[in-house]
Amino acid sequence: AQQATPAPGGQQQGAKPYIPVISKGFQHQFWQAVKQGAEQAAKDYNVDITFEGPETEAQVDKQIEMLQAALAKNPAAICFAALDSKAAIPLLEQAKAKNIPVVGFDSGVDSDIPIATAATDNVAAAAYAADKMAELIGGSGKVAVLVHDQTSRTGIDRRDGFVNRIKEKYPNIEIVSVEYGGGDHLKSTEIAKAVIQANPDLKGYFGANEGSIIGVLNAVKELGMEGKLVVIGYDAGKQQKEAVRSGVEAGAITQNPIGIGYKCVEAAVKAIRGESVPKVIDTGFYWYDKTNMDDPKIAPLLYD
Amino acid sequence: MNDLVLMEGINKAFPGVQALNQAHFDLRAGEVHALVGENGAGKSTLMKILAGVYSKDSGRIVYRGKEVEIPNPRAAQDLGISMIHQELNLMPHLTVAQNVFIGREPRRGLSFLLDDDKINAQTQTLFDAMHLRLDPRVRVADLTIAKQQMVEIAKALSFQAQVLIMDEPTAALTEAEIEELFRIIRQLRDRGVGIVYISHRLEELKQIADRITVMRDGRYVGTEDARTVPIERIISMMVGRTIYESKPELPERPSQEVVLEVRGLNRGNVIKDVSFQLRKGEILGFAGLMGAGRTEVARAIFGADPIDSGEIYVHGKKVEIRHPRDAVRHGIGYLSEDRKRFGLALSMDVESNIVLASFEKFLRPLGVVNTARTRETGQHYVEALAIKTPSLQQRVKNLSGGTQQKVVVGKWLTANTDILIFDEPTRGIDVGAKSEIYHLLNDLARQGKSIIMISSELPEILRMSHRIIVMCEGRITGELTAAEATQERIMTYATQRRVLVDTGEAEGGVSSAQEG
């Protein structure tokens, strides 16, 4: 931290400011929706962005490399969704030393370096899903949880949000299985099938991201259990939306991925311009089911 | 009796084969004891048991009066038993010296550090004692087979073993090199080392052996005094009947029709401007010393290796041969000198190997193999060539060397090739099988097939060939008709190359640095 501090965005005059957006992933639709929002903001505010993320949410080190490469380009600002915020702190400090503003997104960074964070509270959202589950199965019975990843922040937060709420508030509900399908639709399907087979009296299934819930839906369909199980999901996507519409899936939590992407780039632009930005930008989460999914407030949040 | 080694009642079974059946062998200190027998008689197996490579099923080994178990090669080494294997056993990526000292590297300082200077020096000393001109620092992969064989011998000698087993050590060597080897063997014998000498070159035995033990079908047949026993008797003990070496029956004169012509063949510095003609029904011998380039010529004609320049005419038509399949299409077949590496799919059965070069001829629609016909063809050649196999489904890796060679012959006959290049067809093959191969070659020539026979055994070349081409260091140095050819004339053409060992008359170089 002893080097000279260049002006923020030490780029040639006249060029568009450059903002790398480093996300937690890129193949999943959720992240693609974030990307879409970020690109929209880039257009609206006339900045250049790049969007990248590691292949799986376990690859903390790969994300660190990405952050490092991004810093080397001397960007005007950085948008960063930390897979593991503690592991990223040294680099964030470098950014700070170079006067590069950092905007967090998706989940918070345990540090005061980010000037703003555009995020959803995954724990609260999953807890809300738990409340819905309890309500729909009548407050007692067995439920199972299928999560995409055992080690990633979103996976952990959603799992814990759901599981802890059930444990705290609904003593008559038993969580019989928490498994991880890596977001792989096929693996998730096989897992969900085995769990349903092994628990004939299962009443509800919570899938903590799109890949997981599609697996649950496939399992339900393949076992001919449509309507016999309360299925609650997370995120959106075409298949899930159809399932919700048809009633096979009771409903799901959606965040506002496009909003997250948009808001974080917007905040970064404001920071570059020296405008003030709120420390926390809550992009919110929403419960949707077949009754409200065409609601003009909800519909735009549901990516295909 | 000062028996060094006594092996008694040794049994060893491989699947489908009782390789050794109550085998017996004894070795005295200070003798050269030859072990002979047909292919598959069990010579190598017996000696591998002594060297700790295989474990015996039953029987006992007495070494210096004490019964011993030899579970692995290391144990054999520790007892002072060392073996030169029939197949070369070298690490091609290591240098000569590293190969010689593998497993017993002198260490430096901490006990795991290598001292390559020391092994280079020690290897050099060893080579000097053997009058061998070889740089200890070159990689073995860069050596010719002859040199590799010398490295193996040097390695075995370096153990200072009390028992030295040599399984066909001379198969790749020139006369001068063999002479040098014999000199060393005699020296060791005089020092009290017991030497087991396995060879199919029976004429060598008279020169070097003290006693000869004959094996047949895994059994002990008998032991004779090498100086007194007539070779004929050894042969009849080997084959279980008397066979008399037929007089070299010179085949009929071939026609004058040229079936193969090679013009101006060049490849790096291993083939230099080679041109010759092969006529219909002719057996054309290729003589020369190891590394003369005969194999290279054969492989080049066959399309196995790329050439720099040169033209090939088959039946008067110029042909392009870039791959072996081009050669096969033009009716050329090649029987490699190394069957196991280049000739056979060892894990496949006899039938598949026989039709390997001609599967395309046995196809029904959709690429389905007509197994009825492949079996028929396989059966035909098993009978026609008297291939000794329990069944067509036997994997060829379980067959003896001579039998394997016949399977390769069957493969090329099935492929209907009329130009056959036999590279060392009798290498490592016993007398019985040898004469069968000779008959086969004659029959083939009589049927109008044209044959190139590469061989390092002059008697064989002289006996079989209508014409003889001699090569040395990549060029053709002479051509002789059967009538003109003699061993001496061939050798004059063939001996332009520098011999690996310093012969007595070769001036200076390295002085004999051995001192007991």
Partner: protein
């Protein structure tokens, strides 16, 4: 090679005792049966019709991939690209059917061809450029993974799955049940039939056709095969292309089953497929292997996974147990061969 032959030697002595191929197969089957019985005893939910059908279905994709890989491994090669090539094929099938609106059979053909072409490229890189199969197919694995993402990115501006919304019958190809329509008590999904059909074809190709013979010959001794005038380069290319075709078929099956093409799938599938082949007794050093063995290997893996899940073994322990069983299964196979 030296070791292979040496151990071949030592194990030969007992072979005569126990020659029958059928008995060997039974032994291989044995491990599967033991596992089956074990799970049936410890869990009442394991040996139910639906669960067994589930296991069969779960074998389909990995099994089909493993069939293709069997050929490659018999030539002493390897194919690390099967998983992502499968994904790429699923993607092209989806594009053909759901985006271009081609008829379903044509769409399936597109998927198969995609796999075939990827395999062909593998084969050419291996046999013409002489790149070791491990490297060539590793490169293809990366490229196919990228391309499976590039396609939707290029078409829709963002990476996303393609759904077969307008062609519900596409899903029926694997999830419908021809058997079930005849014998209602046996609703075995078509995907299982496809697996068995593919296995029959593979077995036919391996044992009855020239391609199969050359695969074994090349694996047994490539140089000797070349020196027999066989166009080894072309046949090898054909074998990798065949393996690619099977990956293409797996792509169609997974797309049909998931009723969508998921661009991010497929990483790691190659190792499962290879494990199935090796558990099935095909030697990585080439020259031998059977389709039946591969099928058994694939079933063993999916049975194991399913059983551990049904038992509710924590997932981290499932990984540990699976790893150990893979080694154990191969060890049993080695002992079995030593014994024959």
């Amino acid at each position: 090679m030296a070791t292979r032959e040496a151990s071949a030697t030592t194990r030969l002595s007992a072979r005569t005792l126990f020659r029958s191929e059928a008995a060997q197969k039974l032994l291989a089957f044995g491990a599967l049966i033991v596992i089956f019985i074990f799970f049936s005893v410890v869990s009442p939910f394991f040996l139910t019709r639906d669960n067994v059908i589930g296991i069969l279905l779960a074998t389909a994709v990995n099994g089909i991939l493993a069939l293709g890989v069997t050929f490659v491994i018999i030539t002493a090669g390897i194919d690390l690209s099967v998983g992502t090539v499968m994904t790429l094929s699923a993607m092209t099938t989806a594009v053909a059917i759901a985006v271009w609106g081609l008829p379903i059979p044509l769409g399936i053909l597109v998927g198969l061809l995609t796999g075939g072409v990827a395999g062909l490229v593998n084969g050419l890189v291996i046999s013409r450029m002489k790149i070791p199969p491990f490297v060539a197919t590793l490169g293809m694995m990366m490229m196919a993974r990228g391309l499976a993402l590039v396609i939707p990115a290029a078409l829709f501006g963002s990476v996303k799955p393609v759904y077969f919304t307008d062609t519900p019958v596409f899903n029926q190809i694997t999830m419908g049940s021809v058997i079930g329509s005849v014998i209602p008590a046996l609703p075995v999904p078509n995907a299982v039939l496809i697996l068995f059909g593919a296995a029959l074809i593979a077995s036919f190709i391996l044992t009855k056709t020239i391609l199969g013979r050359y695969a074994v010959a090349i694996g047994s001794n490539e140089e000797a095969t070349r020196l027999s005038g066989v166009n080894v380069a072309n046949w090898k290319t054909a074998i990798y292309a065949l393996c690619g075709l099977f990956s293409g078929l797996a792509g169609v099956v997974i797309a049909s089953r998931l009723n969508s093409a998921q661009p991010g799938l497929g990483a790691g599938y190659e190792l499962d497929a290879i494990a199935a082949v090796v558990i099935g007794g095909t030697s990585l050093s080439g020259g031998e292997g059977t389709i039946l063995g591969t099928l058994i290997g694939a079933f063993l893996m999916s049975t194991l996974t399913n059983g551990l899940r049904i038992l509710g073994v924590p997932q981290e322990w499932q990984m540990v147990v699976t790893g150990a069983i893979v080694i154990l299964a191969v060890y049993l196979d080695i002992l079995r061969r030593r014994a024959r």
